[in-house]
């Protein structure tokens, strides 16, 4: 255990360990995305995210992140310390040095040109020194980049904390409200009734423009408000967030006109699946099946083009007293039209007058104390990744001194970086090339 703790504190080893945990976590997370019953030992793969092994690994990764955050915080603290005994090399682990010779003995001119160049390159000069035979410049670039790693890891911790609060304390539930019915929101005394659920289709198309639940809300003071609940437009009712998630439609009954030999016989109302005897003839009618958007394909099979009641049709079965079990006729009845059938002149035909439907709206109710915490964590995470990815702290020390033979000036560039040693090398080499060109040619 002591060795494990020691390894965790050793930043290089703990990073490798963290990588290992991340890999295992990723592997287990993959399992959870498999379809149900596809894994022999796991009938419901999605449940793996609530299982001990996954939570343990996530917790362990969080612990490693916590240790890392403390280590990084210490590094950031040391970075800003103005301790003269703390060298640049201690603050910036990566170092690189180059030097070149310039045939010029005008130290002050060289210094001015170098300062101008460094400033154009985004390096902030914080100290200058020297005399007629030597100049020293110290500068840094992207100093704020030191915060990137800390913000990122801290943000991850906050997100996990928020996730834990959600897991433990959130009350998220889905409820279904029928049109005309009401529910009481949990933890409040607010009553919510669904006045009407409407589906608006795109003009001339069979696709949905929007779903709208028209809600009537009575708060604890007894005040009544109307709200329109739509997808992507949640409501906040006394601290409970309300979201439009799904809907369901039930066919209540249908109204049908029955024609015999072209003349209207009877107009009846019947429920789907229910058999009803006609009052004026010894026959029974059954509405066997309802299709919301009737169309017949090339093979004569009836399908629905969409789930919306654009062109409803009902399959009508007609029974007589001697064949109560098997229908003598089965025909589709459409709205406002005589029903389909193989023959033009038929004894029986049916016209669908009305399909009465009742919608129920599926809404999600949410009281989640973890959400604001997670959002704060997200902010730190985003800031951290961008600062870390785009700003690599760099310190530069430039020294120009007259060469021993007095024929020119030796310019020495020392670069220091907190990470990315290769990038530092490229940066210093690019500076060296450019400065050498500028100082030699003046261009």
């Amino acid at each position: 255990m002591h060795l494990l703790f020691k390894n965790m504190l050793d930043s290089k080893r703990s990073l490798r360990f963290a990588n290992f945990i991340m890999f295992i976590l990723a592997g287990i997370a993959v399992l959870g995305t498999f379809p149900d019953s596809s894994i022999p030992f796991l009938s419901s793969p999605h449940s793996i995210y609530h299982r001990a092994i996954f939570l343990f690994l996530l917790g362990f990764l969080t612990l490693l992140t916590f240790v890392a955050t403390l280590q990084i915080a210490f590094v950031v603290f040391r970075f800003y310390q103005k301790d003269p005994n703390l060298s640049l090399a201690e603050k910036y682990p990566a170092t690189y040095q180059r030097e070149f010779f310039v045939i010029s003995r005008q130290i002050s001119d060289l210094k001015t040109t170098v300062i101008h160049y460094l400033r154009n390159r985004g390096v902030r000069i914080f100290s200058k020194g020297g005399n007629s035979s030597i100049f020293v410049l110290n500068g840094f670039k992207h100093r704020l980049g030191i915060w990137g790693s800390f913000l990122l890891h801290f943000g991850f911790l906050i997100v996990v904390l928020g996730g834990f609060l959600t897991f433990r304390f959130a009350d998220i539930r889905e409820v279904t409200i029928l049109e005309g019915e009401a529910i009481i929101l949990p933890d409040t005394r607010a009553k919510v009734a669904l006045e009407k659920f409407t589906i608006t289709l795109q003009s001339g198309k069979r696709t949905v423009e929007e779903y709208n639940s028209r809600l009537l809300v009575q708060n604890r003071k007894g005040e009544i408000f109307h709200y329109d609940l739509k997808v992507n437009h949640p409501l906040n009712i006394e601290g409970t967030k309300v979201f439009q998630t799904r809907y369901h439609v039930d066919v209540q009954d249908i109204e049908l006109t029955i024609y015999q030999n072209g003349k209207p016989l009877e107009r009846i109302k019947l429920k789907v699946g229910g058999k009803q005897w006609l009052s004026d003839a010894p026959f029974a009618i059954e509405a066997t099946r309802v299709v919301p958007d009737f169309v017949m394909d090339d093979k004569g099979k009836v399908v629905s083009r969409s789930p919306y009641f654009n062109n409803p049709a009902v399959l009508i079965s007609l029974y007589n007293t001697s064949s109560a079990k098997a229908p003598i006729i089965q025909q589709w009845a459409l709205e406002g039209m005589l029903s389909h059938g193989r023959q033009q002149q038929k004894e029986w035909s049916f016209v669908l007058n009305k399909v009465r439907v009742r919608y129920s709206s599926g809404i999600k109710l949410s009281r989640d104390p973890g959400m604001p915490v997670v959002y704060v964590g997200f902010l730190f995470l985003v800031l951290g990744t961008f600062v870390s990815g785009f700003l690599t702290p760099l310190a530069v020390t430039l020294q120009g001194s007259l060469s021993p033979d007095g024929k020119g000036t030796v310019v020495r560039i020392n670069g220091y970086s907190t990470k990315d040693a290769v990038g530092l090398r490229f940066e210093i080499e690019a500076m060296t090339r450019n400065l050498e060109r500028i100082l030699s040619t003046g261009v």
């Binding site: 990073l15 997200f378 290769v422």
Partner: protein, 269 residues
């Protein structure tokens, strides 16, 4: 406008870049660059025109996002070129873009109206940031692939020590892969976070371990591991390249595999 024309232009750009690298002829290099930039401009216009026809940003289904991703890969490559001057990467980027555009032939090009769940201002920011991240990873994949190809060639030729210049090239490719991942990772993070915020507004839950969300998290973990590797003791360039290669495969599964093979509320095809 025919997607086939774009595919052809990108293939010519890719081939031209590869030949320019091997032959070190400037004429070929300039020619390839001109073709690449022209193709990118036409590509951008195509996306713009589709957006005008659809009355929304064209990034709502697999067809549109394949076109967007291939555009961003080439755009990211040219940004990279401004800074890092890697011509070979253009070859890989052009090839990847062509393959992605060719994949659109398997999908319907019809412009579909937006579903109610997609009618949100978050859509543009979520998709764009994710795909900028993906594009960076795709270009990093090209760099990693080039590294591995060279490494494999070197191993097969059984050359022992390599010269300084070759060693520097290997180092440069390794560093380029790292920088591209370091740039793509924040965008992926931002895209996932915007997605979580939007999911909370739309579905009432910022994270529900939906397959798309989970695989995005897996992609995030893999690339996070890749970045971590740069801080561990003496990371091998080959290891980083292999991980970047693997990360790209995971990323492509997150993008396309989940839509077609797993049941997800994110499957907008």
């Amino acid at each position: 406008m025919n997607i086939g024309v774009l595919i052809l232009l990108y293939l010519i750009f890719s081939l031209g870049s590869f030949i320019a690298v091997s032959s070190e002829r400037r004429v070929l290099f300039y020619g390839a660059m001109i073709i690449g930039l022209s193709a990118l401009t036409i590509h951008g216009l195509f996306i713009f025109v589709r957006g005008i026809s659809a009355h929304h940003f064209p990034l709502t289904n697999s067809y549109e996002t394949l076109i967007l991703l291939s555009f961003l890969i080439i755009a990211i490559y040219f940004f990279t070129f401004l800074r890092f001057r890697s011509v070979a990467l253009g070859g890989f980027s052009g090839l990847i873009a062509s393959i992605l555009l060719a994949a659109t032939s398997l999908l319907s090009p019809d412009i579909e109206p937006l579903l109610p769940s997609l009618k949100s201002n978050w859509l543009f920011f979520h998709v764009m940031t994710i795909f900028i991240g993906y594009a960076c990873f795709a270009v990093a994949f090209g760099s990693a692939a080039f590294y591995l190809f060279w490494d494999l060639t070197r191993l097969k030729s059984k050359k022992g020590d390599i010269s300084d210049s070759i060693q520097k090239k290997f180092e440069y490719l390794d560093w380029l892969t790292y920088r591209l991942i370091a740039v793509g990772f924040p965008f992926l993070t931002l895209g996932i976070i915007i997605g979580a915020v939007w999911a909370n507004i739309c579905w009432g839950r910022y994270w529900s371990w939906d397959p798309k969300e989970t695989w995005a998290f897996i992609t995030w973990l893999i690339y996070g591991t890749c970045l971590h590797m740069k801080y561990t003791k003496e990371p091998s360039g080959r290891q980083t390249a292999l991980l970047a290669f693997f990360g790209f495969i995971i990323m492509m599964f997150t993008y396309l595999g989940v839509n077609f093979w797993l049941a997800s509320i994110h499957a907008y095809n």
